[in-house]
Structures are given as C-alpha cells and as structure tokens.
Symmetry: C4
Subunit: 455 residues, 4 copies
C-alpha cells in the first residue's frame, strides 16, 4: 500500500481507504482530517473516532460513491446525529433514501401532537392559595375531570344521561302522538279571521297546522325547562371556573356551549309569544331555525371523548385530512354539476324526468354516492348512458380520497396504540423495576453467576 | 491512546471506546465493569463478553448518544434478552424505536390467543377409569369432534343438514302457498261473535287473518316436532357429557342451545292453546316473539366453525374490534340523529315528507349506509342540501372504522396463515427429519466431503 | 481466556465463544466439531468455515440464547441454505421469526404459479414430421396464438368482433322495435281456437304475446346463422387441432365452447317448430333456457385474457380466494336469513309489507348489499330497527372478506409487475450485455483504470 | 491453510475464501484476479479493494452459493453500483430478491415523473430582448402564473369566480322561475299555424314548451355575453402569448379552451335565429348539444390544479391506472350484459318487469354499482336469485380494480409528500446551513471540543 492509504479506527474496527477519497468533501469532518489533528494516533498510524462502525460503512460510501444512501432499518434519529457528527449536510442524502429522515420527522411530529392531545392537564395555574381560587379549581375538576373524585364521576354520568334525554326532546316535542290537541283547524282559522290576524300557514300542510292546533304537554315543557336550566348553570360554571379564558375560547366545545346557551333562552322567549308566531311568518321560521340548531347539543356528547381516545383520534384524522376532504368536495361537485348538465340535456325529450337542472344535480349526487333513492332517474337511452357513467365516476371519485382518509385514521390509531403501550410500560417500570435493579446490586453473587464462565 | 480507552471483546470482535462513556449509566452491566472483574482479560487488556457483536453496536451507541434506538430488522425477543443481559431498562428505549418491542409483544399475544383458540382439546379430564366416565367421553367426542370417528363425521353431517332444513321451516310455516285453509274470514268472525270471544285481529291485515283462517299442514307439524326432539336430545346430551360445567357455560353457543331448547318447547306448549291465541293478543305476540327468536338456531351452523378456521377468525376479528364497533355506533347515531333533526326542520314546509322526526332518523340511517330505499327523501332545496351532506358524512363516518375492522381481520388472517404454515412444518419435520440427521451422523464421510478443502 | 474458549474463523472474521455453548446441540455441525476435524487450523488455533460472517452472528446466537431469531432483511433462501450447512433443523426457528421462511416459500409458490400461467407454450408435441401434424400445428397457432402471424392477428380481431356482435343479438332478437308484426293478438287467439291448439300464453303478458304475434326479421335470422356456423367451425377446428385432448378438456373455456355449440344448434332446431312452441309450454321454456344460457358466449371474450394479463390475474385472485368467497357466502346467507325472519315477525302487524318470509330474505339481501331498491321496506318502528341493524351488519359482513379478496388481487398484481420487470431485464440483458462484458475484457486498460490507485 | 486460500481486504476488513470459489465466475472482477494484478499487496498477501465491507458479504455469498440474494434494507442504487464494480451482471440476481432493484427503478421513475409535473417553468424561451417578446412574457405570466405578481393573483381570483358564476348559468337559463313568459302554448301554436310553420315540439312535454313560450331575461343574456367575451379574450391571449405552440397544443386544458370558444359563439349565432329553431328540429337539437357540451367549461376550474397538488396527483393516479380502469370496464360490461340476459329470460313470465333487454342492462348496472333506484327490479323468485348474484358479483368485480386505483393514488400521495419534504429541506438548507458550516470552521475550538478525549 502506498502513502495515499488512510487507516481509520472507528469504535475498534479498522477501515482502510484512500486519502484522496475522503478529501472529496473538504467541508466535512473526515475531509478535513490531518496527521496533526488530535484524533491521529501515531502508534498504529490511524485516525480514531469513537463512533458506531456499522454506520461508518454508509458514511465512507458517501466519499466512495459521491452520494449518501441510508439503510432503512435504522432510525432517522441515528442518521441525523451521525451526519451531524461527521459534518455532512442532510441535503446530501439522495432523494431515494430521504424517506428514512422524513418519515422519522413525521413520526416525531405525530408523537408530539398525540402527546399534547392526551397529556394530563397542568394544574399549576390554580396554585393560588386564596379560598376562591381553590373553590374554582375544585369546581373545574368536578365539571371537567371525571377521574378526580367520586362526585365528579356521578356528575359526568348525570351529564351524559341528560344529553341523551335532551336529544330525544325535539322528537317528543314534534311527535303527533304526544302533542295535545287544543283546537281544530277550522276553529283556529275562524279565530284568526275574527281577530283580523293574517295567518301565514298553509292549510294543506299537516305539520304546520299541527303547530297551530296542538301544544306540547306540560310535563314536557317543565322537563325541558329543567334541562335548560341544568345546561345553563353548567355553562356558566364552566365559564367562571375555567382558569385561562383564552384557552376556554380555543376549545370549540366551549364555544358551542355558549352558542347553545344563547339559543336555548331565545327559543324560550319566543315560544311565549304564541300569537305573534301564528301571525308572523319570519318569527316562526326563526324559531324553527333555533330549534334545528339546538340539536347541536348532541355534540356535548363528545365531551365523552376525553375518556374515549378512539373518538379523539377520529377527530384528529378528519382534521389532518383537510386536504383530502377538500379534494373530495371539489371533484365531487365538479363532476356532480357536470353530470347534472349532461343528464338534463340528454333527457330533454322526456316530459316527466328532470324538470330543471337542480333536480339533475340532486340526482347526480344521489347516484354518485350510490344512495339511489329512485325519486328521479333517467328514462331515455342517452340519459341512462349518462347514469352509468355517473355511477362509475362516483365510485372512483369517492373511493380515492376516502381511502386516504381511512388510511390516515388507521395509521393514527396504530400510532396511538404504540403510544399507549409505551406510556403503560414507562408507568409500570417506574414503579417496579428501579427497586429490582437496586436489589440486584445488593446481591453480591449475581454478576459472578453470569460471568463465572469467563474466568 | 490514553488510559481512558477501554477495549471490549464481544464474541471475538474488538470494540474501543472511552471509559467515561460507558460509566454514564453506572447501574448497567457495562457501566459497572472494573479491571478486577472476572470478564477482564489481562493478556489482551480487554473485557470479554460472549454476546453477538452485531447487537453490541446498538448497545454501545446507547452510551455514546444517551438514548437507545433499535434497528427494526431484528426480532423484539433478541433485544429484550440483550437489554436484560446488559442490565439496561426497557424504558430507556426511545419512543420512536419502541415499536420493535411493542409489535413483538402484540405478535406474541396474538399468537398465544390463536394457539388457545385452535389448540387440540385436553382429554386428560376424562382420565377417570370408570365406565360412565368413558361413556361420557365417547359421547362428547361423538357430538363435538367430527374428526374422532366415522360415526362422529356422519353425525356432524346430519347435524348440519338438520340445521339447514330447520332454518327453512319458519318460511314454510308462514308461506300462504303451504298453509291449509281451515275456514274463511267471515266464518271465523261469526264464530268468534257466537262464542263471545273478543277477536284482537285486524281484519285488513292479510298476515294476521291468515293465521286465524289457515293452519300448517300435518307433515310440517310432525317434521318440526322431530327436529325439535333431535335438538333437545342433542342439547341434553351435550349438557350431560360436558366434562367441566363451567367451561360449558362460558361458550356462548352452548348457552344459545339451552335458550333455544326452552323457547322451542314453550312454542309447542302455546301452539296447542289455539283458541286462547285468537282471543289473547299478548299470548299471540309472545308466540311471535318466540318464533322470531328461534331463528337464532341458525347460529348452530357456526359449530361448523370448528372445522372452518376463517369463520373463527372473523369472530375473533369482530371481538377484538369492539372499540372500533363502539366508535362506529356512537358516531353513526350522533350524526344520524343530528341529520334527522336538520332534515325535519328544513323540510317543515313540505306537506308530504317527514311527518315526524323518527321518520327523519330512519331516512338519515338509510342515507348514511347508502341503502336509499326511496320511501322517504327530502323534496325542498334546503332539505336536499342536508341530504347531500348526510350521504357524504355517512360515507366518511362509516369508511373509517370499517377500514380498521377489515384491517384487523386481514392481519389476523395473515397471522393465522403463518401459524398454520409453522404448525405444518413442525408436524412434518418431527416425523421425518430427525431420522435424516441420525443417518447423516452415521455416514463417516459426510463432514470430510464438506471440509476437505480446508485441509 | 481459558481452555473453554473456541475461536471460529468464518470467512475471515474471528468469532470467540465457549466450547460448552456450541456443544449444547451436538447434532448440529458446530456442536460436533473437534480439534481433530479438518476445519481446525493449528496455526491460529481456530476452526475455519468458508461462510458469510454476517449470518454467522445469528447462528451463534442460536447456541447462546437457545432459540433462533432471524433478521428480516435477508431472503429466506439464504437462511434455508445457511441452516442446512450448519445442520440446524428449520423447526428450531422460533415462531415469531418463522415469517421470513414462510413468506419466502409463499413467494416462490406464487412465482411458480404465475410462471406456469404466463409461460410460452411448449411446441415440442407438434414435432411429428408428418404433413397432417404440421397442418394441425399451423391451424392451432392460427386459432390460439394471435402473435404467431399476421393472419392469426386478423383472425383474432375478427373473432373478438364476432363475439361482440353476437352478444348484441339476444337484445335485437327480443326488442319490440325490431321484431316484425305478423299478426295481432286477436287473430292468433282465433287461429288457435280454430286449429284446436291449446294456447299456454298469458294474454296480459306483453312479452309472451310479442313472441306469438311477431317474428325476428330475416336479416337477423341469417346473420345469427352465419355467426352460429362461424363459432361451430371454430369449435370443431379447435377440437381437431388441439394436440393433447386431456389438456383441452381441462381448460374451462373449451368446455364452454362445446356446450355452447350444442345449445346453439338445439335452439335452431326448436325454433323451426314454431307451432309446437305455441302449444307446448315446456318446449317454449326450454327454448328460453337455451337462449339464456347462450349468453355465456360472452365469456369467449375472455380468450382476450391471453393477451391481457390483468384479466388473468383477476381470475387467479378469485380462484385463490375461494376460502374468503365461501366465508362471504356463508355469513351473508346466515345473516340474510336471520334478518328475513326478524323483519317478518317484527312487521307482522303491518298489512302491506313483507307478505311472506322469502320477500323478507330478498329485502335483507338488497339491504345488506346497500342496493336498496325500495320495492319492500319495513314501515313499523321495530321493523325499522331491524332494518338499521341489517344495513350495518351487511356493511361489516361484506367489508371484511371483500377487503381480503381485493388485497389478494392487489398483491398478485404487484407480484406480476415484478415478474414482468424481471423477465424484461433478463431478455434485454441476454441480447446486449454479454457483448459488453466481452468487449470490456478486450480493453486492456479498463482494469488498470479502476485499480491504478491501489498500486 | 493451504494455497487455495485467498485473502481479500475490502475497505479494511479481511475476508478469507477459497480461490476455486471466486474463480467460478471468471467474467467477473473477482473471478479474474491474479497475483500479478495491481490490487494484490505482497506485504500482507491480500487483494485490496476500496469498497464497503458490509456489501461484500453478499458479493462473496454469490460465489459461495452460486446465486445472488440481496438484503432488502439497502437502496437499489447501492447494489447497482456495487454489482457494476464487481462486474456481476444484474441478471444474476435471483428472482425472489430482484424486488430491491425493480422497486428502486420504479421509485426513480415516479420521482422523475413527479418532478417533471411540478417543476417550475423554464422562462429561458422568453429571453428575446425585443419589446413584443417581453410583453408576451408578461402577459403569459399574468394569465398563467398567479404567483408572479399581485395583479396576476387578482386575475386568477377573478378567473375562478367567473368560472363558478358561469357554471351556474345553464341552470338559471333553464329554470322555470327565472325565464320570462312571452306567450302561452295556445298562442304560439296558433301563430305557427298562421305562419305555416311546422312546429316540431311535443305539446305534452313541459320542458320543450317552456323553450317555445318563454325567453331568458335580458340581464342574464347580457351577463352571459360578458362572460363569453371574457373567456374569448382570455383564450385568444393565451394562444397569442404561449411561447411554443406545440406545447400549447399538448395541454388538454388549452384544447378544451379553444373548443369551448368555438362552441360558445356557435351557440350565440344559433340563438338569434329564434324562428328557425322553432321550425327546425335538428337545429334545436344541435343547440341543445352545444349547451350540454359547454358545461365542460367547468373543467377550467382545474386550472386551479396548478396551485393544488392533490388534484394533479388525482389525475396522474387515474392516468397511471389505465390498465385497471380498462379491466374495470371490461369485467363490468361483460358481467352487466350477462346478468341483463339472465334477468330478462328469468323474468319473462312477469308481465310488468323488464320489457326488453336494454332495460335489463340498465337494471344490472344500477344493481352492480349498488345504486338501486328501484325503477326496475325482478319480481319473480328466479329473477330475484339473479338479482342476489348480480349484486354480490358487482361488489366483487368493482372492489378489486377500485382498490388498486385507490392504492395507486395513495402511494402517489405519499411519494409526493416525501418529494415536498425533500424540496423544502433542500431550499431551507441552501439558504441557511452553508453559513453555519462556515462559522463552525472559524471557531477554532470546535473540533478540539469534540476530539479532546482521544488525546
């Protein structure tokens, strides 16, 4: 061997290469070594580095081949550390092998995000010794942390039951079998004429007439009042006890609570003005709108999510798939509208089907999602060809983004499972194993048993 | 090199590092070595450990980098053993690389579970030498193990055929073409009036009148009696011969057998009181309920599962996806109910559609599952917007948990395939290969042939 | 180090372990080494084996840990060879790491299967020098191998066009707009009465009356005769030219050809007996059956599969998923029948819906597949609960096996893609690269250029 | 050891094997070594190669085992380079391990394709210093690159809004609530009779009569004219400013623009000939066709794709799945047609359902896609059996290719994500890190800190 040869001792293993090879990249650590540097040992004429020799093969191949290809069985963290040590920029990793680094980065990001979502709350902000601060802390624990005490558990159970019961109220309120007949249609129309009130209702619409001629029973009225008061008190307490108002505002469930609180009482206010509802169409519609919106109280059910991680993962999956959801909507509506046009013009000779293009859009949506009610469908041969294309297009256009969203959910679930296994191990080991290690140190024979064969 | 340098000989490969590095974690084996310990060899000034040098690179990196990142191409078992040897706690594995361990643990759990499900039964409990014990054992084998004898196979075939035949009986029993006319509607009503019996039936309901005016043919009556007796005898024998009563109770198929046994005979009892059925509404309804429940005898078909592993895997997959199923139900019902509310209020002006909110719920379920019967559908523009949202929401909400459940089934199937391949190999090798090895030992020339080149 | 220590030189790398360790398994090669054997070198006191040192780490761990865990980044073939060399039985691989071997075995099986399916045909059986043999071979190539000559390509194109055209004939034959009116319904009934022929037709059934009062146009009759003759000649030639009759019988497309050949001519025979068809119900039904079966000629289209690999892969995927298809059918029908029972009994009070249980089964199938025609649907509240359960059950029960079948198809497609890439590379390299290597040998400077740095 | 032994020093690690082993393949580099070659060092009696010793294990196993099995944790590029160095042909890789190479090749192909699609445009072709050239460049940037300037962004926003607005015009144009009544049906018919014009319209068809008796409002007419002119100017500018006409023609969006441009003005031309439309059926139909085609202007929306990568990936996924789409269509239509035949003949006795076979085809398509309108459905028992088979077949036949297409989309998305991460890293590192490295070189203590322990 000639003078060009360099011997490098990495963690005990000797590597031999040419000096010209390593000097290809003078900005890196290996490219800037010289026989005067501290790591050169004159005894065995080699440079010594205290690193992993297995990884050094890849590092040396960077100098030999001029590009960096990472084996994919090692963690991205190791490569980041190793490349930093050897002063090789991360950008010199070839594109085909960059996956190791980028998937590690992504993994860490997801880990952090999950940790933030599932982390136990920081109670330090309640550290104030004043009596009111303590009371607020206690109330907040009672309302928000079912695990904190038995009473909190009981409250949590009552809360969820109330949500479920209140969810059934809109149904009871409007069910013909429960409402109480107060007058019949003829009477009310006569009465209106007598009072000179302009009735806005359509006499042929059962549902509208029902509201005019019946009223909800008293027990239902009082029970919904009770539930209203319960939720109001709960919302007010939440607002009062929440430590940092900013954080309170951030959580969408809290905002929803406040909106529902406002709407609930508006409803109650309007309801008492019975006569005005009968004469004022817009007030009646506004009441309907309020009633419809108040179904969102069902989302209070998702407070359960705190105890039920799958539900949270579902939310996170939907959140992190915003791009795919947008894609789904854009392609869905573009294709839907296109087929609406096509089916309208291809069915223009059929007198019954597709009176206008909006019906066509409704049809194309119903077809693309494969719901297929059958209220409208093409009847002419050309229209049916459009129908075949529409249903196949729908399957394709929907399958692709939904597969990705389902995949995101799947990978988040797996990730969370691993996180839970890790947390469980950490908790278990913290309480038990340290003692085990201590005792193993006390036992004087243990190491001997293991190594006695070497003597 | 200076005094700080340590040379460690791991399985023949020499590693060099600094003493200060390994002393970072004094509780570990490598952190507590000293030049007086037995593994220190003064000849070549190194510590000797009889371990795998490939794995030691990772161990040493733990001391160099301060965290443990495992390569993912090696089995979790190896790492567990290795970390135990070097006395490094499992909790020091960094989160990003903990997957190796947790996936190994999961794999072992699934393996054990599958082994328990598919293991051959332990016959030792029948070891009692008494004649009755032997008889019980034989009967039990006859009933439960089709592979045990030819007669058991024949019985198993008869059993499955009987289940299939009996499954068609409810259909035959109620089919208008098979029932025999006994009287017509007018006669029976007159008769009832004459006997002063209060008839509960709705004259306009064909199905109810059919039960009053027709009866099942005799051949059907006697055949169902035969099948009833067959199943009864079989259930009684099962109860008697089952070795450990506790285990019998645990298996849900056995519990189902007993429930069906009870219901079957209740049905027979009630049926004979024909007159009372005609006059007593509740008795008739109870009979209907019993008949409806007795369709569960179809589940007896799943005894086949013992011979058909895919079916069992399906059950296990559903069982182990309880979390996802719950998630599916919760989100499905919350969204379903929400859309029921929305569609009711947005369609309030349409006189025909959605008479009450329960119909709205039925509609939203039918839409979210993309079944779309078309018995109810929104007709107003706002209602159709709700319809579009509902169908898209349904696709998303259903796709995510179902993808996970399907994925669980898929991974269980693969796992089971591997288990079967392994069991097959073990069985084959046990019978053949040992002999082969023995003969190879007898052949005195074999090792020479292989190694003669080294001489 | 003491006498217990053994030094093993594997391919140049030195391993050190204890003699007692390797002697744990005396039946293996390493367990039976002695200092007298040929592989022991007295110079450096070590046993020499010419094997891969990287793999030897795993082998040695087998002796150290007592079980064999294989890294998963190496091919199963390597491990099989390695374990055979060291005389370690394959059964000593621990279950968690057996995947490497079993997935390799599976991969090889799939490879062989795909190779068999896509292999070029063996023409050796036509090697007979006789003139008839040659002619048969030529005809067979002409019929079955479109790639063999230009005429074969033309024939293949004509064949496929004919299949497509003939597929549209059943439609043309029965379309009211194409059939020619021969008489009207009144005339034919009178005629029948006059001839004393008992007409079997239902006067209210348009479709049946159409067959009686119209006839297919002449041009259609003659064209279908031409196509019939074309297919007949083709089938006869196939039977005559096919070299090995057994193989001919094995391929289902050929059997189908013969069946279609028979049915086609039976149809033609029957059709001429017009009068008898009108009077004989069973003959008419048999004709209908023949016409219905002859649609299977559409499967002739799949001869295209020879040129279109995706289609073959689809067939193979369905074939290799027989287990999952069976599972799909069993669970589908058990659940379908169960829901049929449940819906019948829960809807017994509704006079209109579900007149009998078979309608219930039709409904449950239509619901479980989410088709949802809306011809039958539950109307009572209990029936609708059954409907909700049925549709959710259907989604689950269908999603699981279909996911597996789709997965099988996916993996077969990927496998085939790789096979194609491999075959392409082999073909390319065979024609070009050998020459390149030869020239590189001629160039005397090439090795010098590469190695001049070592001098 | 004897004369047959060869010592090979690969990058510092010594390998020992037999000369006869390496001479198995004399065409390879290792097979042609001799003691006279430059790489032989007489000092330590070994051949020296400056390569990666980790990879050399696999190379040497090629000589030992006679076939090449690659570990799958290393990049295909490394193996290609390594095999080229050792002059081993790529075709000697065994089929089971060829995946490493083929997946690398595929990966590189996909990378190149994605790079080509998402690459920034080459502006060099506008380098001409002439004033007109500059203007063209500016206009082109303004029209096609929203990122180039604020005005371009504004234009892009206006453009997309115009597309959205113009998409709603066909709907407004044909909606009964917006069109203005000009005459009633009776008047127009009388007028036609008076003018001796042969009216082609069907009096019973609302939609056709609406076109005759109403006209679009003026505001709509002028707005659509404005939009027409806007799109025309835009198209003309695009044609004029596009640098290379060939490339312009290649992009399908541009071709679409020109087609729409022509159709738009034809429509306007025809519309003014109101009287002729009423009397000439074919002209009216041609107008309908033009209106239907002009919905394709919705595809202008996909110019957004330039800014929205998911949409492009969707297109690429569909493009690269042509094979699977074709498979989908072939199997779908073959099975659809088959079930159409079967259902027609099995339902021939039912007088109402399936009047002809085309209706059967429509039914089978609607069933296989699980749309299930319920306009046609089998009613007889045999027909329903065909229905059950059809829906199950549909699920299977559609699930398989769609799973593959969704999988292609998924893998392309992942690939693109990695590409984006890589591009981001490269961009970031280029601007920041070089400086960091420079400063680290200035700091004279940095290397000392790292290596001081070795001294």
């Amino acid at each position: 061997m000639d003078d060009d040869t360099v011997r490098i001792n990495v963690g005990g293993t000797m590597f031999t290469t040419r000096l010209s090879t390593v000097q290809k990249y003078p900005n890196t650590l290996l490219g800037s070594i010289s026989f005067e540097s501290d790591c050169y040992s004159k005894d065995d004429k080699s440079f010594y580095f205290d690193r992993n020799p297995e990884l050094f093969n890849t590092i040396l191949d960077y100098y030999r081949n001029g590009c960096l290809h990472l084996p994919n069985h090692l963690c991205g963290w190791l490569w980041k550390t190793e490349l930093e040590f050897w002063k090789i920029p991360l950008t010199d990793i070839s594109e085909c092998c960059h996956k190791t680094i980028s998937s590690y980065n992504k993994r860490v990001d997801v880990s952090k995000m999950l940790k933030a979502v599932f982390s136990p709350l920081n109670h330090s902000e309640y550290a104030s010794p004043s009596g009111i601060g303590k009371l607020r802390h206690r109330l907040w624990l009672f309302l928000d942390e079912p695990e904190s005490s038995t009473w909190a558990k009981v409250f949590s159970f009552i809360y969820l039951s109330t949500v479920l019961v209140s969810a059934s109220f809109p149904c009871l309120k409007t069910h013909p079998g429960i409402r109480i007949q107060t007058s019949n249609a003829t009477t009310i129309l006569k009465l209106a004429a007598y009072n000179n009130v302009q009735m806005w209702m359509n006499k042929d619409n059962h549902k509208e007439m029902q509201f005019a001629t019946t009223k909800e029973p008293n027990w239902l009225y009082y029970w919904s009042l009770v539930i209203c008061i319960f939720f109001s008190v709960e919302t007010i307490l939440r607002v009062l006890t929440c430590s940092t108002k900013n954080k309170f505002v951030k959580e969408w469930l809290n905002i929803l609570d406040i909106i529902l609180f406002v709407i609930m009482w508006i409803c109650y206010g309007i309801k008492h003005a019975e006569k005005e509802i009968l004469s004022n169409k817009h007030l009646a519609y506004f009441l309907c709108f309020c009633e419809a919106v108040s179904v969102l109280r069902l989302f209070k059910f998702f407070r359960l999510a705190k105890q039920y991680s799958s539900l949270r993962i579902l939310f996170i999956a939907v959140q992190s798939s915003v791009r795919e959801l947008l894609l789904l909507l854009i392609t869905f509506f573009v294709f839907g509208w296109m087929f609406a046009n096509l089916v309208y013009y291809t069915e223009i000779l059929e007198s019954e089907s597709f009176p206008n293009m909006l019906v066509g859009f409704w049809w194309s949506v119903v077809t693309m999602t494969t719901v297929g009610y059958g209220d409208v469908y093409p009847v002419g041969p050309l229209g049916r060809v459009v129908g075949v294309l529409c249903s196949l297009c729908g399957l394709l256009v929907l399958a692709m983004p939904i597969a990705i969203i389902a995949g995101n959910f799947d990978s988040l679930c797996r990730h969370n499972e691993e996180r839970e296994a890790y947390v469980k191990l950490q908790t278990k080991q913290k309480s038990n194993i340290p003692k085990a290690w201590e005792t193993s140190k006390i036992d004087p024979n243990y190491p001997i048993k293991l190594f006695e064969s070497y003597t």
